[in-house]
Amino acid sequence: MLKIVVCVKAVPDPKAAGNIKIDPQTKTLLRGNVPMVLNPLDKNALEAALQIKTGMEVHITVLSMGPPEAASIVKECLALGADRGILLSDRGFGGADAFATAYTLAMGVQKNGDADVVFCGMASSDGATEWVGPEMATMLDMPVVTMVREIIPHADEAWEVKSALENGYRRMRVRLPAVFTVTRDLNSPRTLSFSGIIKARKKTITEWGLDDLGVSAERVGLKGSPTIVTEMRTVENTRKVEFIEGTREEKAEQLVQKLVEVGVL
Protein backbone atom coordinates (compact mmCIF):
# COMPACT_ATOMS: atom_id res chain seq x y z
CA MET A 1 0.00 0.00 0.00
CA LEU A 2 1.31 3.40 -1.03
CA LYS A 3 1.43 5.86 1.84
CA ILE A 4 0.90 9.47 0.87
CA VAL A 5 1.11 12.51 3.13
CA VAL A 6 -0.40 15.78 1.92
CA CYS A 7 0.74 18.93 3.73
CA VAL A 8 -2.06 21.45 3.97
CA LYS A 9 -2.01 24.90 5.45
CA ALA A 10 -4.79 27.08 6.84
CA VAL A 11 -4.39 30.56 5.34
CA PRO A 12 -6.36 33.80 5.60
CA ASP A 13 -8.95 33.69 2.80
CA PRO A 14 -7.00 35.07 -0.20
CA LYS A 15 -10.17 36.84 -1.36
CA ALA A 16 -10.13 38.96 1.80
CA ALA A 17 -6.43 38.90 2.69
CA GLY A 18 -6.12 42.51 1.51
CA ASN A 19 -7.88 43.46 4.75
CA ILE A 20 -4.81 42.48 6.75
CA LYS A 21 -2.83 45.69 7.06
CA ILE A 22 0.05 47.19 8.95
CA ASP A 23 -1.15 49.71 11.53
CA PRO A 24 0.72 52.88 10.55
CA GLN A 25 0.92 53.97 14.20
CA THR A 26 1.82 50.84 16.10
CA LYS A 27 3.54 49.05 13.18
CA THR A 28 1.75 45.88 14.15
CA LEU A 29 -0.63 43.75 12.10
CA LEU A 30 -4.33 44.54 11.97
CA ARG A 31 -5.77 41.12 11.21
CA GLY A 32 -9.16 42.42 10.11
CA ASN A 33 -11.15 39.26 10.97
CA VAL A 34 -10.26 37.38 7.81
CA PRO A 35 -11.55 33.77 7.88
CA MET A 36 -9.09 30.87 7.54
CA VAL A 37 -9.41 28.59 4.52
CA LEU A 38 -7.51 25.72 2.92
CA ASN A 39 -4.55 27.11 0.93
CA PRO A 40 -5.72 26.99 -2.74
CA LEU A 41 -2.75 25.03 -4.09
CA ASP A 42 -3.05 22.48 -1.30
CA LYS A 43 -6.38 21.51 -2.85
CA ASN A 44 -4.43 20.52 -5.94
CA ALA A 45 -1.98 18.61 -3.74
CA LEU A 46 -4.81 16.67 -2.10
CA GLU A 47 -6.49 16.10 -5.46
CA ALA A 48 -3.25 14.61 -6.81
CA ALA A 49 -3.28 12.08 -3.98
CA LEU A 50 -6.99 11.31 -4.42
CA GLN A 51 -6.53 10.69 -8.14
CA ILE A 52 -3.67 8.28 -7.51
CA LYS A 53 -5.95 6.47 -5.10
CA THR A 54 -8.38 5.61 -7.87
CA GLY A 55 -5.64 3.56 -9.59
CA MET A 56 -3.89 1.81 -6.73
CA GLU A 57 -4.10 1.02 -3.05
CA VAL A 58 -3.29 4.22 -1.26
CA HIS A 59 -3.56 5.58 2.26
CA ILE A 60 -3.73 9.36 2.46
CA THR A 61 -2.78 11.38 5.55
CA VAL A 62 -3.28 15.12 5.61
CA LEU A 63 -0.84 16.95 7.83
CA SER A 64 -1.13 20.54 8.95
CA MET A 65 0.74 22.70 11.39
CA GLY A 66 -1.31 25.54 12.78
CA PRO A 67 -3.47 26.90 15.57
CA PRO A 68 -6.39 24.76 16.86
CA GLU A 69 -8.71 26.54 14.38
CA ALA A 70 -6.80 24.87 11.55
CA ALA A 71 -8.65 21.66 12.49
CA SER A 72 -11.47 22.87 10.24
CA ILE A 73 -9.35 22.62 7.09
CA VAL A 74 -8.08 19.18 8.12
CA LYS A 75 -11.71 18.16 8.53
CA GLU A 76 -12.44 19.54 5.07
CA CYS A 77 -9.69 17.34 3.63
CA LEU A 78 -11.13 14.30 5.40
CA ALA A 79 -14.50 15.11 3.84
CA LEU A 80 -12.79 15.33 0.45
CA GLY A 81 -11.50 11.79 0.88
CA ALA A 82 -8.32 11.73 2.99
CA ASP A 83 -8.04 8.76 5.36
CA ARG A 84 -6.26 10.35 8.28
CA GLY A 85 -5.94 13.91 9.55
CA ILE A 86 -3.13 15.18 11.76
CA LEU A 87 -2.88 18.67 13.21
CA LEU A 88 0.44 19.73 14.69
CA SER A 89 -0.58 22.33 17.19
CA ASP A 90 1.31 23.77 20.12
CA ARG A 91 2.01 27.25 21.45
CA GLY A 92 5.66 26.43 20.90
CA PHE A 93 5.13 26.00 17.15
CA GLY A 94 3.98 29.62 16.76
CA GLY A 95 6.00 32.20 14.84
CA ALA A 96 7.78 29.59 12.73
CA ASP A 97 9.53 30.65 9.52
CA ALA A 98 9.76 28.30 6.53
CA PHE A 99 12.75 26.44 8.02
CA ALA A 100 11.11 25.75 11.39
CA THR A 101 7.82 24.91 9.66
CA ALA A 102 9.57 22.42 7.39
CA TYR A 103 11.32 20.85 10.37
CA THR A 104 8.10 20.47 12.38
CA LEU A 105 6.24 18.99 9.41
CA ALA A 106 9.16 16.63 8.71
CA MET A 107 8.95 15.40 12.30
CA GLY A 108 5.20 14.91 11.82
CA VAL A 109 5.76 12.90 8.63
CA GLN A 110 8.30 10.75 10.46
CA LYS A 111 6.07 10.08 13.44
CA ASN A 112 3.22 9.15 11.12
CA GLY A 113 5.43 6.38 9.72
CA ASP A 114 7.26 5.84 6.44
CA ALA A 115 5.73 7.95 3.69
CA ASP A 116 6.26 6.97 0.08
CA VAL A 117 5.11 10.31 -1.27
CA VAL A 118 4.67 13.74 0.28
CA PHE A 119 2.64 16.32 -1.62
CA CYS A 120 2.76 20.04 -0.92
CA GLY A 121 1.36 23.01 -2.72
CA MET A 122 3.95 24.94 -4.73
CA ALA A 123 3.30 27.93 -2.47
CA SER A 124 1.05 29.06 0.33
CA SER A 125 -1.02 32.15 -0.38
CA ASP A 126 0.14 33.98 2.75
CA GLY A 127 3.77 32.89 3.17
CA ALA A 128 4.38 32.19 -0.52
CA THR A 129 8.02 31.32 0.04
CA GLU A 130 7.80 27.99 -1.82
CA TRP A 131 10.47 26.80 0.62
CA VAL A 132 8.55 24.41 2.87
CA GLY A 133 8.41 21.48 0.41
CA PRO A 134 12.10 21.45 -0.60
CA GLU A 135 13.35 22.16 2.94
CA MET A 136 11.19 19.38 4.37
CA ALA A 137 12.46 17.02 1.66
CA THR A 138 16.03 17.79 2.68
CA MET A 139 15.24 17.13 6.33
CA LEU A 140 13.58 13.81 5.41
CA ASP A 141 16.47 12.98 3.09
CA MET A 142 14.10 12.63 0.16
CA PRO A 143 14.43 14.04 -3.34
CA VAL A 144 12.04 16.82 -4.30
CA VAL A 145 10.54 18.08 -7.52
CA THR A 146 8.92 21.51 -7.35
CA MET A 147 6.23 22.98 -9.59
CA VAL A 148 4.89 19.62 -10.74
CA ARG A 149 2.29 19.94 -13.48
CA GLU A 150 1.90 16.31 -14.55
CA ILE A 151 2.42 12.98 -12.79
CA ILE A 152 2.61 9.51 -14.26
CA PRO A 153 2.72 7.17 -11.26
CA HIS A 154 4.42 3.85 -11.81
CA ALA A 155 4.10 0.76 -9.70
CA ASP A 156 7.88 0.24 -9.87
CA GLU A 157 8.45 3.12 -7.44
CA ALA A 158 9.98 5.48 -9.95
CA TRP A 159 7.47 8.10 -11.04
CA GLU A 160 7.68 10.25 -14.11
CA VAL A 161 6.75 13.90 -13.61
CA LYS A 162 6.74 17.12 -15.56
CA SER A 163 7.77 20.21 -13.69
CA ALA A 164 7.18 23.74 -14.94
CA LEU A 165 10.02 26.06 -15.92
CA GLU A 166 9.38 29.72 -16.69
CA ASN A 167 9.62 28.92 -20.37
CA GLY A 168 8.82 25.23 -20.68
CA TYR A 169 9.14 22.16 -18.54
CA ARG A 170 11.44 19.40 -17.29
CA ARG A 171 10.49 15.77 -17.60
CA MET A 172 12.07 13.67 -14.90
CA ARG A 173 12.04 10.28 -13.28
CA VAL A 174 12.01 10.24 -9.49
CA ARG A 175 12.61 7.31 -7.22
CA LEU A 176 10.28 7.09 -4.22
CA PRO A 177 10.10 8.11 -1.44
CA ALA A 178 9.92 11.68 -2.71
CA VAL A 179 8.37 15.09 -2.13
CA PHE A 180 6.44 16.88 -4.86
CA THR A 181 5.16 20.45 -4.82
CA VAL A 182 2.30 20.95 -7.23
CA THR A 183 0.94 23.74 -9.43
CA ARG A 184 -2.68 24.33 -10.29
CA ASP A 185 -2.13 23.00 -13.82
CA LEU A 186 -1.84 19.49 -12.39
CA ASN A 187 -5.57 18.92 -11.90
CA SER A 188 -8.94 20.44 -11.07
CA PRO A 189 -9.69 19.86 -7.39
CA ARG A 190 -13.02 18.20 -6.61
CA THR A 191 -15.54 19.98 -4.45
CA LEU A 192 -17.08 18.79 -1.21
CA SER A 193 -19.89 16.25 -1.50
CA PHE A 194 -22.64 15.71 0.99
CA SER A 195 -21.73 12.05 1.46
CA GLY A 196 -18.11 13.05 2.04
CA ILE A 197 -19.13 15.42 4.79
CA ILE A 198 -21.24 12.71 6.43
CA LYS A 199 -18.40 10.17 6.25
CA ALA A 200 -15.90 12.67 7.65
CA ARG A 201 -18.04 13.11 10.74
CA LYS A 202 -16.85 9.71 11.91
CA LYS A 203 -13.18 10.41 11.25
CA THR A 204 -11.20 11.95 14.09
CA ILE A 205 -8.29 14.34 13.88
CA THR A 206 -5.06 13.40 15.61
CA GLU A 207 -3.47 16.34 17.42
CA TRP A 208 0.22 16.31 18.18
CA GLY A 209 2.09 18.90 20.23
CA LEU A 210 5.71 19.42 21.10
CA ASP A 211 5.86 16.48 23.52
CA ASP A 212 4.16 14.09 21.11
CA LEU A 213 6.70 14.88 18.43
CA GLY A 214 9.49 14.60 20.97
CA VAL A 215 11.38 17.54 19.54
CA SER A 216 13.34 20.20 21.34
CA ALA A 217 11.51 23.51 21.85
CA GLU A 218 14.65 25.22 20.50
CA ARG A 219 14.09 23.76 17.05
CA VAL A 220 10.49 24.78 16.41
CA GLY A 221 8.42 27.94 16.31
CA LEU A 222 10.00 31.35 16.70
CA LYS A 223 13.00 29.93 18.59
CA GLY A 224 13.77 27.45 15.83
CA SER A 225 13.49 30.07 13.09
CA PRO A 226 16.73 31.38 11.61
CA THR A 227 14.96 34.43 10.19
CA ILE A 228 12.97 37.08 12.04
CA VAL A 229 10.94 40.12 11.05
CA THR A 230 12.55 43.23 12.51
CA GLU A 231 10.49 46.00 11.03
CA MET A 232 7.15 46.75 9.38
CA ARG A 233 6.49 49.90 7.43
CA THR A 234 3.65 51.37 5.47
CA VAL A 235 4.57 52.62 2.02
CA GLU A 236 3.99 56.19 0.86
CA ASN A 237 2.40 56.66 -2.52
CA THR A 238 4.01 59.18 -4.79
CA ARG A 239 1.36 59.47 -7.48
CA LYS A 240 -1.77 61.57 -7.41
CA VAL A 241 -4.72 60.24 -9.32
CA GLU A 242 -6.81 62.25 -11.75
CA PHE A 243 -10.18 60.59 -12.27
CA ILE A 244 -11.55 60.41 -15.77
CA GLU A 245 -15.23 61.34 -15.37
CA GLY A 246 -18.37 61.27 -17.48
CA THR A 247 -20.67 58.69 -18.99
CA ARG A 248 -19.21 55.31 -19.88
CA GLU A 249 -18.83 56.40 -23.52
CA GLU A 250 -17.14 59.64 -22.50
CA LYS A 251 -14.76 57.90 -20.13
CA ALA A 252 -13.78 55.40 -22.83
CA GLU A 253 -13.21 58.21 -25.32
CA GLN A 254 -11.05 60.15 -22.88
CA LEU A 255 -9.07 57.04 -22.02
CA VAL A 256 -8.41 56.41 -25.72
CA GLN A 257 -7.21 60.01 -25.90
CA LYS A 258 -4.82 59.43 -22.99
CA LEU A 259 -3.53 56.25 -24.59
CA VAL A 260 -2.85 58.20 -27.77
CA GLU A 261 -1.02 60.93 -25.82
CA VAL A 262 1.29 58.46 -24.12
CA GLY A 263 1.94 56.66 -27.39
CA VAL A 264 0.18 53.36 -26.76
CA LEU A 265 -2.20 53.95 -29.67
Binding site: I20, M147, P226
Partner: protein, 334 residues
Protein backbone atom coordinates in the same frame (compact mmCIF):
# COMPACT_ATOMS: atom_id res chain seq x y z
CA UNK B 1 30.70 38.20 13.40
CA UNK B 2 31.19 41.96 13.62
CA UNK B 3 34.39 41.94 11.59
CA UNK B 4 33.33 39.10 9.32
CA UNK B 5 35.30 39.50 6.10
CA UNK B 6 33.97 36.39 4.42
CA UNK B 7 32.69 36.91 0.90
CA UNK B 8 29.31 37.65 -0.65
CA UNK B 9 28.26 34.94 -3.06
CA UNK B 10 26.01 34.86 -6.08
CA UNK B 11 24.91 31.58 -7.63
CA UNK B 12 24.89 32.20 -11.38
CA UNK B 13 21.92 31.22 -13.49
CA UNK B 14 22.46 30.44 -17.14
CA UNK B 15 20.48 29.18 -20.08
CA UNK B 16 22.13 27.75 -23.19
CA UNK B 17 25.48 28.89 -21.75
CA UNK B 18 24.42 32.55 -21.51
CA UNK B 19 24.01 34.25 -18.15
CA UNK B 20 20.43 35.22 -17.34
CA UNK B 21 20.22 39.00 -16.67
CA UNK B 22 19.43 38.33 -13.01
CA UNK B 23 23.02 37.11 -12.51
CA UNK B 24 24.87 40.35 -13.39
CA UNK B 25 22.08 42.25 -11.61
CA UNK B 26 22.83 40.32 -8.42
CA UNK B 27 26.58 40.66 -8.89
CA UNK B 28 26.14 44.43 -9.25
CA UNK B 29 24.10 44.58 -6.04
CA UNK B 30 26.56 42.28 -4.24
CA UNK B 31 29.36 44.66 -5.18
CA UNK B 32 27.60 47.35 -3.17
CA UNK B 33 26.93 45.00 -0.25
CA UNK B 34 30.52 43.74 -0.28
CA UNK B 35 31.89 47.30 -0.38
CA UNK B 36 29.79 48.12 2.68
CA UNK B 37 31.20 45.05 4.41
CA UNK B 38 34.74 45.53 3.15
CA UNK B 39 34.80 42.13 1.49
CA UNK B 40 34.74 40.42 -1.92
CA UNK B 41 32.11 39.24 -4.40
CA UNK B 42 32.38 35.68 -5.60
CA UNK B 43 30.22 33.76 -8.05
CA UNK B 44 29.54 30.06 -8.40
CA UNK B 45 28.95 29.25 -12.06
CA UNK B 46 27.91 25.76 -13.10
CA UNK B 47 27.25 24.53 -16.62
CA UNK B 48 28.88 23.04 -19.68
CA UNK B 49 30.49 25.41 -22.16
CA UNK B 50 30.31 28.35 -19.78
CA UNK B 51 34.07 28.89 -19.49
CA UNK B 52 33.93 32.17 -21.42
CA UNK B 53 31.41 33.67 -18.99
CA UNK B 54 33.66 34.56 -16.02
CA UNK B 55 34.92 37.68 -17.82
CA UNK B 56 31.33 38.98 -17.87
CA UNK B 57 31.07 38.32 -14.16
CA UNK B 58 34.34 40.15 -13.47
CA UNK B 59 33.11 43.08 -15.59
CA UNK B 60 29.95 43.16 -13.44
CA UNK B 61 31.95 43.41 -10.23
CA UNK B 62 32.94 39.89 -9.15
CA UNK B 63 36.47 39.18 -7.95
CA UNK B 64 36.43 35.43 -8.06
CA UNK B 65 34.48 32.79 -9.94
CA UNK B 66 34.17 29.17 -8.89
CA UNK B 67 33.71 27.52 -12.25
CA UNK B 68 32.23 24.07 -12.71
CA UNK B 69 32.39 23.47 -16.44
CA UNK B 70 31.50 19.87 -17.10
CA UNK B 71 28.97 17.86 -19.16
CA UNK B 72 27.52 16.51 -15.89
CA UNK B 73 26.63 20.09 -14.92
CA UNK B 74 25.09 21.10 -18.26
CA UNK B 75 21.55 21.11 -16.88
CA UNK B 76 20.50 22.11 -13.40
CA UNK B 77 20.16 18.91 -11.39
CA UNK B 78 18.84 19.37 -7.85
CA UNK B 79 21.06 16.83 -6.12
CA UNK B 80 24.25 17.52 -8.06
CA UNK B 81 24.01 21.31 -7.89
CA UNK B 82 23.07 21.23 -4.21
CA UNK B 83 26.04 18.99 -3.38
CA UNK B 84 28.51 21.18 -5.26
CA UNK B 85 27.28 24.44 -3.75
CA UNK B 86 26.95 23.07 -0.21
CA UNK B 87 30.46 21.59 -0.46
CA UNK B 88 31.93 24.91 -1.57
CA UNK B 89 29.96 26.91 0.99
CA UNK B 90 31.08 24.66 3.84
CA UNK B 91 34.66 25.17 2.79
CA UNK B 92 34.68 28.88 2.00
CA UNK B 93 31.97 30.05 4.43
CA UNK B 94 30.40 32.98 2.56
CA UNK B 95 28.39 35.30 4.81
CA UNK B 96 25.74 35.92 2.15
CA UNK B 97 24.44 33.80 -0.73
CA UNK B 98 22.08 35.32 -3.30
CA UNK B 99 20.18 33.55 -6.05
CA UNK B 100 17.66 34.61 -8.68
CA UNK B 101 13.99 33.76 -8.16
CA UNK B 102 14.19 31.71 -11.34
CA UNK B 103 12.88 28.19 -11.77
CA UNK B 104 16.31 26.95 -10.70
CA UNK B 105 16.75 29.36 -7.79
CA UNK B 106 13.30 28.71 -6.41
CA UNK B 107 14.15 25.03 -5.96
CA UNK B 108 17.89 25.18 -5.37
CA UNK B 109 17.91 27.96 -2.76
CA UNK B 110 15.78 26.07 -0.21
CA UNK B 111 17.74 22.86 -0.86
CA UNK B 112 21.02 24.63 -0.12
CA UNK B 113 19.61 26.59 2.84
CA UNK B 114 18.17 23.48 4.46
CA UNK B 115 21.46 21.60 4.06
CA UNK B 116 23.35 24.54 5.58
CA UNK B 117 20.70 24.85 8.34
CA UNK B 118 20.28 28.53 7.70
CA UNK B 119 17.59 31.09 6.93
CA UNK B 120 16.36 32.04 3.50
CA UNK B 121 14.18 34.96 2.48
CA UNK B 122 12.00 34.71 -0.61
CA UNK B 123 11.69 37.20 -3.43
CA UNK B 124 13.31 40.28 -1.87
CA UNK B 125 12.76 43.71 -3.37
CA UNK B 126 15.73 45.32 -1.66
CA UNK B 127 18.85 44.37 0.29
CA UNK B 128 20.96 46.51 2.61
CA UNK B 129 23.71 46.08 5.17
CA UNK B 130 22.64 47.54 8.52
CA UNK B 131 24.72 49.09 11.32
CA UNK B 132 25.35 45.64 12.81
CA UNK B 133 26.70 44.49 9.44
CA UNK B 134 23.68 42.22 9.03
CA UNK B 135 21.86 41.82 5.71
CA UNK B 136 18.45 43.51 5.77
CA UNK B 137 16.12 41.70 3.41
CA UNK B 138 13.08 43.72 2.38
CA UNK B 139 9.87 42.18 1.10
CA UNK B 140 6.45 43.72 0.45
CA UNK B 141 3.73 42.55 2.83
CA UNK B 142 0.34 43.62 4.10
CA UNK B 143 0.13 46.75 2.00
CA UNK B 144 3.56 47.88 3.22
CA UNK B 145 7.04 46.46 3.56
CA UNK B 146 8.73 44.28 6.13
CA UNK B 147 12.40 43.78 6.91
CA UNK B 148 13.67 40.27 7.59
CA UNK B 149 17.08 39.40 9.01
CA UNK B 150 18.91 36.20 9.78
CA UNK B 151 20.77 37.45 12.85
CA UNK B 152 22.81 34.44 13.89
CA UNK B 153 23.16 31.71 11.31
CA UNK B 154 25.40 31.98 8.31
CA UNK B 155 25.26 32.26 5.39
CA UNK B 156 22.38 34.72 5.10
CA UNK B 157 20.44 33.64 2.04
CA UNK B 158 17.92 35.39 -0.20
CA UNK B 159 16.36 35.12 -3.62
CA UNK B 160 15.59 38.11 -5.83
CA UNK B 161 13.54 38.25 -9.03
CA UNK B 162 15.05 39.29 -12.32
CA UNK B 163 14.64 43.04 -12.85
CA UNK B 164 14.60 44.08 -9.18
CA UNK B 165 18.13 45.43 -9.40
CA UNK B 166 19.51 47.23 -12.46
CA UNK B 167 22.20 45.78 -14.67
CA UNK B 168 25.54 47.13 -13.44
CA UNK B 169 27.71 49.30 -15.66
CA UNK B 170 30.27 46.89 -17.10
CA UNK B 171 33.95 47.48 -16.54
CA UNK B 172 35.55 45.33 -19.23
CA UNK B 173 39.01 45.94 -17.81
CA UNK B 174 38.25 44.08 -14.59
CA UNK B 175 39.91 40.73 -14.13
CA UNK B 176 39.56 38.21 -11.40
CA UNK B 177 40.48 34.76 -10.31
CA UNK B 178 38.87 31.63 -11.76
CA UNK B 179 38.89 28.66 -9.40
CA UNK B 180 37.84 25.52 -11.16
CA UNK B 181 35.67 23.03 -9.35
CA UNK B 182 36.75 19.51 -10.00
CA UNK B 183 34.47 16.53 -10.48
CA UNK B 184 33.51 13.85 -10.69
CA UNK B 185 29.97 15.11 -10.31
CA UNK B 186 27.90 12.10 -9.41
CA UNK B 187 24.42 11.70 -8.12
CA UNK B 188 22.63 8.90 -6.36
CA UNK B 189 20.14 8.54 -9.19
CA UNK B 190 17.08 9.34 -7.11
CA UNK B 191 16.24 12.05 -9.63
CA UNK B 192 16.93 11.69 -13.31
CA UNK B 193 16.31 14.52 -15.76
CA UNK B 194 14.92 12.91 -18.90
CA UNK B 195 14.43 16.04 -20.96
CA UNK B 196 14.22 19.81 -20.76
CA UNK B 197 11.69 21.32 -23.14
CA UNK B 198 11.68 25.03 -23.93
CA UNK B 199 8.31 26.35 -25.09
CA UNK B 200 8.03 29.66 -26.93
CA UNK B 201 5.83 32.05 -24.97
CA UNK B 202 2.62 33.36 -26.54
CA UNK B 203 1.87 37.02 -27.18
CA UNK B 204 4.02 40.06 -26.51
CA UNK B 205 6.77 39.33 -23.97
CA UNK B 206 6.14 41.18 -20.73
CA UNK B 207 9.79 41.95 -20.07
CA UNK B 208 10.18 44.17 -23.09
CA UNK B 209 6.62 45.47 -23.69
CA UNK B 210 6.30 49.27 -23.73
CA UNK B 211 2.71 48.96 -22.57
CA UNK B 212 1.67 46.41 -19.98
CA UNK B 213 -1.95 45.61 -19.30
CA UNK B 214 -2.52 43.71 -16.07
CA UNK B 215 -5.81 42.46 -14.79
CA UNK B 216 -6.98 40.72 -11.67
CA UNK B 217 -9.86 39.26 -9.73
CA UNK B 218 -12.18 42.00 -10.97
CA UNK B 219 -12.32 40.34 -14.41
CA UNK B 220 -14.90 38.14 -12.72
CA UNK B 221 -14.77 34.97 -14.77
CA UNK B 222 -13.29 33.45 -17.90
CA UNK B 223 -15.64 35.46 -20.10
CA UNK B 224 -14.47 38.64 -18.40
CA UNK B 225 -10.90 37.53 -18.86
CA UNK B 226 -11.41 37.04 -22.59
CA UNK B 227 -12.35 40.72 -22.83
CA UNK B 228 -9.04 41.56 -21.16
CA UNK B 229 -7.13 39.38 -23.62
CA UNK B 230 -8.92 41.13 -26.48
CA UNK B 231 -8.01 44.54 -25.05
CA UNK B 232 -4.35 43.55 -24.72
CA UNK B 233 -4.34 42.66 -28.40
CA UNK B 234 -6.07 45.91 -29.38
CA UNK B 235 -3.40 47.85 -27.46
CA UNK B 236 -0.48 45.61 -28.54
CA UNK B 237 0.23 45.40 -24.84
CA UNK B 238 2.02 42.70 -22.89
CA UNK B 239 -0.63 40.92 -20.82
CA UNK B 240 0.09 40.37 -17.14
CA UNK B 241 -2.04 39.42 -14.18
CA UNK B 242 -2.35 39.23 -10.43
CA UNK B 243 -2.33 36.08 -8.39
CA UNK B 244 -6.11 35.51 -8.27
CA UNK B 245 -6.16 35.35 -12.09
CA UNK B 246 -3.65 32.52 -11.88
CA UNK B 247 -5.54 30.82 -9.07
CA UNK B 248 -8.77 31.00 -11.05
CA UNK B 249 -7.04 29.45 -14.03
CA UNK B 250 -7.57 32.40 -16.38
CA UNK B 251 -3.90 33.17 -16.86
CA UNK B 252 -0.58 31.37 -16.68
CA UNK B 253 1.71 31.72 -13.69
CA UNK B 254 4.46 32.99 -16.01
CA UNK B 255 2.43 36.13 -16.63
CA UNK B 256 1.91 37.02 -12.98
CA UNK B 257 3.46 40.39 -12.18
CA UNK B 258 4.89 41.13 -8.76
CA UNK B 259 7.08 40.08 -5.93
CA UNK B 260 6.86 36.37 -6.59
CA UNK B 261 6.26 36.76 -10.31
CA UNK B 262 7.72 38.91 -13.05
CA UNK B 263 9.18 42.38 -12.75
CA UNK B 264 8.26 44.64 -15.65
CA UNK B 265 9.27 48.16 -16.61
CA UNK B 266 6.87 49.43 -19.27
CA UNK B 267 6.32 53.06 -20.19
CA UNK B 268 2.59 52.71 -19.64
CA UNK B 269 0.84 50.45 -17.18
CA UNK B 270 -2.88 49.81 -17.28
CA UNK B 271 -4.29 47.87 -14.33
CA UNK B 272 -7.84 46.58 -14.58
CA UNK B 273 -9.94 45.02 -11.83
CA UNK B 274 -7.09 44.78 -9.37
CA UNK B 275 -6.68 46.30 -5.96
CA UNK B 276 -3.09 47.51 -6.13
CA UNK B 277 -1.65 45.20 -3.49
CA UNK B 278 2.04 45.89 -2.82
CA UNK B 279 2.99 42.37 -3.85
CA UNK B 280 1.68 43.13 -7.32
CA UNK B 281 2.66 46.79 -7.59
CA UNK B 282 6.33 46.23 -6.73
CA UNK B 283 6.52 44.35 -10.02
CA UNK B 284 6.06 47.53 -12.02
CA UNK B 285 9.22 49.59 -11.95
CA UNK B 286 9.46 53.12 -13.23
CA UNK B 287 6.40 53.23 -15.48
CA UNK B 288 5.92 56.79 -16.75
CA UNK B 289 2.15 56.63 -16.86
CA UNK B 290 -0.04 54.44 -14.71
CA UNK B 291 -3.77 54.00 -15.24
CA UNK B 292 -6.32 51.96 -13.31
CA UNK B 293 -9.86 50.82 -13.96
CA UNK B 294 -11.75 49.65 -10.88
CA UNK B 295 -15.41 49.70 -9.89
CA UNK B 296 -14.60 50.87 -6.38
CA UNK B 297 -13.58 54.51 -6.14
CA UNK B 298 -12.01 53.79 -2.74
CA UNK B 299 -9.78 50.97 -4.04
CA UNK B 300 -6.17 51.45 -2.90
CA UNK B 301 -5.04 51.07 -6.50
CA UNK B 302 -6.18 54.63 -7.18
CA UNK B 303 -3.63 56.06 -4.78
CA UNK B 304 -0.86 54.52 -6.88
CA UNK B 305 -1.75 55.64 -10.41
CA UNK B 306 -1.93 58.83 -12.46
CA UNK B 307 -5.32 58.29 -14.10
CA UNK B 308 -8.34 56.44 -12.81
CA UNK B 309 -11.56 55.22 -14.32
CA UNK B 310 -14.27 54.14 -11.88
CA UNK B 311 -16.39 51.58 -13.68
CA UNK B 312 -17.27 47.93 -13.93
CA UNK B 313 -14.62 46.55 -16.25
CA UNK B 314 -16.98 44.00 -17.72
CA UNK B 315 -19.15 46.81 -19.05
CA UNK B 316 -16.37 49.31 -19.64
CA UNK B 317 -13.91 47.19 -21.61
CA UNK B 318 -16.33 46.39 -24.48
CA UNK B 319 -17.02 50.12 -24.86
CA UNK B 320 -13.32 50.87 -24.72
CA UNK B 321 -12.66 48.22 -27.38
CA UNK B 322 -15.28 49.83 -29.59
CA UNK B 323 -13.73 53.29 -29.11
CA UNK B 324 -10.29 51.94 -29.95
CA UNK B 325 -11.74 50.35 -33.10
CA UNK B 326 -13.35 53.67 -34.07
CA UNK B 327 -10.09 55.51 -33.44
CA UNK B 328 -8.16 53.06 -35.61
CA UNK B 329 -10.71 53.37 -38.41
CA UNK B 330 -10.41 57.13 -38.31
CA UNK B 331 -6.62 56.81 -38.51
CA UNK B 332 -6.87 54.60 -41.57
CA UNK B 333 -9.42 56.78 -43.36
CA UNK B 334 -7.46 60.04 -43.05
Amino acid sequence: MKDDKSPVWVIADQESCNLLPVTPQLVGKSRKLADDLGTTVEVVLLGDGVDTQPSNLFASGAERVFLGNDPALAEYHPDVYTDVIVGLAEKHKPQIILMGSTSMGRELAPLVAARLSTGLTAHCIDLNINADRVLEQIIPAYGGEITIVCPERRPQMATVAQGVFPLPALDEGCRGEVVSIDGPFVHTGRVEILEVVIEAPEGIPLDTATCVLAAGAGAGDLEGWKLIVELSKALSAGLGCTRPAVDEGWAELETMIGQSGKMVSPETYLGIGLSGEQQHMVGIAGAKTMIAVNNDKKSPVFSQVDYGVVDDCRDFVPVLLEKIRQYREKQVSC
